[in-house]
Symmetry: C2
């Protein structure tokens, strides 16, 4: 049963385990530093489908399918699938997972969705509500650009602080008590808004939410950054990562410079791949956590990771109406088990 | 701790209680049969805001604020707010609730969101993960029409099977062990798609999902329709309600004609109010359940209600791409406690 450590943090005493996980990506992501880690790299951004949205559904479906196969589970053995994505009404998820016939709870946390779905799935496994859950998410560069910014055909310039939405999906199967990467704890974030209105600077918008959640997590658990091998944000990019470290130092007196890494900066080679400030999108942290991080935990290279999923809760409409960008960050403690 | 009754159904043994709830609506909803039940009726559809989206955020905020006031809770006493709405990236919710500073988990279930948020909140209270949760949702006729169909200024005709998105919001405070309407059980639905592509006929699209969830709930609990005073769908409207009863009778041999009612048909007077097949939108079932249904449970007029929230998981983009309308229904058992 989950044990409360303050208002937001829950210790999961039955250590729900990611018994299997999968990450699948597009061509550009496959050419990045983590290219060899992924279960599948799709060279065709369309995945043979007639729209970007349908391609995103296909990549989402593929990640869930591979995670289930690795876990040797049929969809009938899964009690609940918790998932979401960036597209309006989360159609990347819905059309991606509908054929599995798994009971489904839709989530919306923008790019924090992998952390949110892992948190919810782990909680429900921990308390015995479900025996087996799947947490998943996806994003697609082309569907996201079309929806949030401009059609690709327009050829709009991207400022250096902009991030590159990853074409990627991640899925994890969670169950009790077997070997793998455990979800040890969860800290739910609060919506945080420092007044940033530039939808091309998500890193700056999301950094304060990440700083707040990390500070609250450390306070409620009584831990220090050194209790983690890695404090992994997903995804602040280069601008947001720098701001996060400054904010934590200045506002909370916490130094995470030795532990912090960012999924969006791990996925791409920023010098070589023309992705400006780094990767973003639900699928970025989804695919990185479900492959590289899980592997390193299993192999003992990492012992404890604080995965902090960060989401910008704007829409194209709210941006056009001049609204600020409210953001959220959820933290999940992953450990070797 | 939740007790599993089959794959999808959970019995909540600690009976999380809706200790307070609130429903707020627009003018047209206030003129309907339930007008006197609501905590507040806004005559101005703009709620003094400069956009429909901001008006929806304001109505969402109002419902949460009133529910908290009735529960005599400050936002600081709430451990988690679970909420969502129909707008792209759920901005009705985000901008509505952000100032409360409550830890937040975003959900997307289209019009099933009140059932999904109640289910999740009740589960987390039941297992002790949170002491106090808020479940809430909203919809606004004008923001929904603009996003899913046509701008109001266009004056588009609506076919008789179309439903009317309610301008409404509902919020409930859930805690353990006090007096009120209890959440006794939860059945998570599966995405169901009978191939309906007419986005003006949501009732027909959603009825099969409702039928499936009701049939699965009754099978897993070993119950009959007569075990409920009310099997309350939200919202199938006139067309969907008729189809639901036919489907359950023909495909499952289950007759719910004596128990079934629909929030969308309760909210409006279909003969008098020009809403075609009845109300819809997250806020419709949100406001009806959080006022009329909770009151009748508290007063003993109703003893057990199976609330079946139904959602159409389409987007304007998927509809324009000729996709079918995948739907979902989540069931929540409400009882007097």
């Amino acid at each position: 049963m989950p044990k409360r450590l303050g208002r937001q943090t829950l210790l999961l005493t039955n250590r729900p385990i990611m018994t299997a996980s999968a990450g699948v990506v597009g061509k550009k992501e496959g050419e990045g530093p983590l290219g060899k880690e992924f279960d599948r790299v799709f060279d065709d951004a369309h995945l043979g489908k007639e729209s970007w949205e349908k391609a995103e559904s296909a990549i989402h479906r593929c990640a869930v399918d591979l995670a289930l196969k690795k876990a040797r589970k049929s969809p009938d053995e899964v009690d609940l699938l918790l998932a979401g994505d960036l597209l309006n009404q989360c159609i990347g998820t819905t059309f991606g997972v509908m054929d599995f016939g798994i009971p489904f709870a839709g989530l919306y946390g923008a790019c924090s969705t992998m952390a949110l779905s892992l948190a919810m799935a782990a909680l429900l496994v921990d308390c015995g509500a479900v025996n087996c859950a799947v947490a998943s998410t996806s994003s697609h560069f082309c569907s996201a650009e079309k929806q949030f910014r401009l059609p690709l055909e327009y050829g709009g310039q991207r400022p250096p602080q902009a991030q590159w939405t990853a074409t990627a999906a991640g899925a994890a199967v969670l169950e009790k008590g077997k070997e793998g990467a455990a979800v040890e704890g969860v800290t739910f974030g609060r919506i945080t808004d420092y007044g940033v209105t530039d939808a091309n600077n998500m890193g700056a918008a999301m950094a304060p939410a990440a700083a707040r959640t990390i500070a609250e997590h450390l306070t409620q658990t009584g831990e220090a950054p050194a209790d983690y091998d890695l404090i992994l944000t997903g995804d602040l990019g280069a601008v947001g990562s720098r701001l996060l470290k400054e904010l934590l130092q200045q506002e909370h007196g916490v130094d995470i410079s030795c532990q912090q890494a960012d999924c969006g900066m791990m996925l791409f080679d920023l010098d070589r791949q023309d992705v400006n400030a780094g990767g973003s999108g639900c699928g970025c942290s989804g695919a990185v956590v479900c492959t590289n991080i899980v592997r390193r935990l299993r192999q003992g290279e990492l012992k404890r990771v604080l995965f902090v999923g960060t989401g910008a809760l704007l829409s194209a409409v709210s941006a056009r109406q001049g609204e600020t960008i409210p953001c959220i960050a959820h933290a999940v403690v992953l450990s070797k088990h």
